[in-house]
Amino acid sequence: MSRSTTSPPPREPWFAVRRDLSAKRATVLTIISFALPLAIWAAVSYLPFLWHPDIRLQLSADREDVTTVYIAGDRVSKGFFPEFTEAVRAQNQAVEEQLKSEDPLGGISDSSVRRANKKILRHLSPILISNGIITEEQSKDDETIYKAWGDIATGAWVPKSPALTDENIEIVKRNWAVMSEVSPVYDSDNFISVPIISLIPQGKPSNPDYLPDPGQVFKSGAKAFTSPGEGDRPSMIQRVRHSIFIVFGGFLLAALVGVPIGVLCGTYAFFSKLIEPFTDFFRYMPAPTFSTLLVAIFLANDAPKIALVFVGTFFQLVLVVANTTRRLDLPLLEAAQTLGANQRQLLTHVVIPGILPNLYNDLRILLGWAWTWLVIAELVGVKSGLTEFIETQGRFRNFDMVFPIIILIGVIGFTTDQILALLRGVIFPYTEDGAAASANPLVKALMFIPRWFRQAVSERLPADLANHKSLSTKA
């Protein structure tokens, strides 16, 4: 006895076949299930030693020998970067040597040297933008840029975020020495006409553009949602509303038509044999293959999109509902018959109320199914909604804009589903969910819904539909 009082209580195992965990552990794991992918994403994004196969340029750069022009923000692979910087250095070397020779301009005209020099001048502007010296619109404001060259060269201003490499500061000083001799301020007509040397490309290790970091995604997402729509470009909120409209429109239509048909198929062998074989065949034809057809039938705008969600959901829905209806406990139907229910009452008073909780679950799952058609539906005819945004941004490789939308679609679908799951217990208090839900304080507050629902149902179903006695004695 004394041993059992001193020994600690037996620890619950974390791993036991088909055993539930305590509520606390379950909650912890649920949180981790979301936190873990987020943490991995953040780690891969922010820890440079984890992946970062590219260098993201902080300066614009080009090479004379090849026509590629890189602007700040572009990524080059880590393997290529040293080769690239070496090429620029070699190019500068060539310029210096040319200047020492008898023919400093190398037979090139004054005006083209000027043009090349002006280009080099502007290579600095990304650094000025990210240091807040000029705005994005001022990236070609040569006067300010020219002044900045001078400030850096004299040490009057030192760029901090990002800083210039020492090598590039030397280049700035070297160029400024010759530039300031010609003119202390920017003068387009009197711009230096001997070649100056290029800044050496500098950058930071980064991931490829298809994996933006969480902070960037969040910032871009916030920006996308706060910027108002203009002209025929709808705001993000309008896009979201439009996408939800397409999904729910198609789904609700499918449910409106499909549920009665499914219930009939599950109840009467007649309808089952008449309708289900073809439905079963039809659902194997992928909905997207009908898209051009749907545009021909329903023309432009939303109709063909809603029709596509409908086609993608409807056939599945009929079969699922029919199966759910068939799974209703046969003894319930027999008991109802011995209590005097006639054929019609069996349908209205036993089959329909009996399958409601499972039907609700089916529709929940099928709503998720409908969401999967969203992207294809929005590509039908004129692109629209969230998909149009994803398409456009994706084409420009603005993946930091694409991610927030993908995540948003997930969040909308997931929260809808979770809310519907919670409501199930409230609407159907007699199910196991109901017992669990009634303990939930949030649900307790929502308990007016089942009361209203039950009242509405009991008022709708007329008590006297037929006289059972005529049936039992006549047959």
Partner: protein, 300 residues
């Protein structure tokens, strides 16, 4: 196992009161009459004869049990009576009228729980009247009375999933009775209950039967239950299901638990046991077991 019959009492010997009771019982009108009933099921392996030439009558306010070996057709019989299955030959008369199809004049309680899970206890009990088109406060008051009768007035607004197995079956009985059926058909209604709840339910049922104008046909495979509850016991034999014997239970009324060890009770049980487990078959109960323990290490 059943102890050997004490004092060689014959189960057919009835005390004068019991004899008098049976004379009166048989003078009552016949509620249910089953006439040369037969049922065969078509199966892939050929026809299965579940019932053959079943003949019997149930008198008004009689309590009759049907007992027989597993698979002898008890459920088939009661399902035909309820109208859930169609007979192959013969006919069933309720108050002299042939029955076809299910109807509220024959209440049924199933072994599996068949309360409607989406209805409260009270709504379940009101289901039959509602199907008849009755509604309003009188129906509700009536339903309350039936719920009171089975002792569940506290639970009238509970859902079935909140009730124990025994409580569910009591509601099922109340629900069947609320239709005022001529006969209550019960197919092993207490089969899924534990022994204690079962004994309690048997008592409830006897009280209900005593106080209502109701005839009961009750299927069981429990010998004690059959003898304790019945006026008469219909013993079916298997392959095909035929009436073996209709036993008039010599145990006097009112029934009580003390009677379980009376000679009449034991003798009746013994007789049924003989009928459903014939002597020749009892050899099959002995397993062909070789000795698997050491010599001398015996328990008996």
């Amino acid at each position: 196992m059943i102890p050997p019959v004490i004092d060689n009492l014959d189960y057919r010997e009835q005390s004068p009161e019991v004899k008098d009771r049976f004379t009166k019982l048989k003078q009552r009108p016949v509620v249910l009459s089953v006439d040369n009933l037969g049922k065969t099921f078509p199966t892939p392996g050929g026809e299965v004869t579940a019932l053959k030439g079943v003949d019997f009558e149930v008198f008004r306010r009689e309590f009759m049990c049907v007992i027989g070996p597993s698979g002898c057709g008890k459920s088939t019989l009661i399902r035909i009576l309820a109208g859930l299955e169609v007979e192959t030959n013969g006919q069933v008369l309720l108050d002299g009228n042939p029955v076809a199809g299910p109807g509220p004049d024959r209440g049924m309680v199933f072994q599996s729980y068949t309360l409607f899970p989406w209805l409260t206890v009270k709504q379940n009990v009101m289901f039959g009247p509602k199907m008849e088109g009755k509604s309003g406060t009188s129906v509700e008051a009536d339903a309350r009375q039936w719920i009171d009768l089975v002792g569940l007035s506290q639970f009238e607004n509970s859902y079935p999933h909140q009730l124990s197995g025994g409580m569910k079956q009591r509601v099922a009985i109340a629900r069947a009775l609320a239709n005022r059926p001529r006969i209550l058909l019960m197919d092993e209604p207490f089969g899924a209950l534990d022994a204690q709840t079962r004994a309690q339910m048997q008592n409830y049922l006897l009280q209900i039967w005593r106080n209502l104008d109701i005839t009961i046909l009750f299927i069981t495979h429990d010998l004690d239950e059959a003898v304790y509850l019945s006026d008469r016991i219909l013993v079916l034999k298997a392959d095909p299901g035929e009436v073996d014997e209709i036993i008039e239970v010599p145990v006097p009324h009112p029934r009580s638990l003390d009677q379980f060890i009376t000679p009449e009770f034991v003798a009746t049980k013994h007789r049924i046991n003989q009928l459903i487990h014939p002597e020749s078959e009892s050899k099959e109960d002995v397993l062909p077991f070789p000795r698997m323990t050491a010599e001398g290490d015996d328990v008996e």
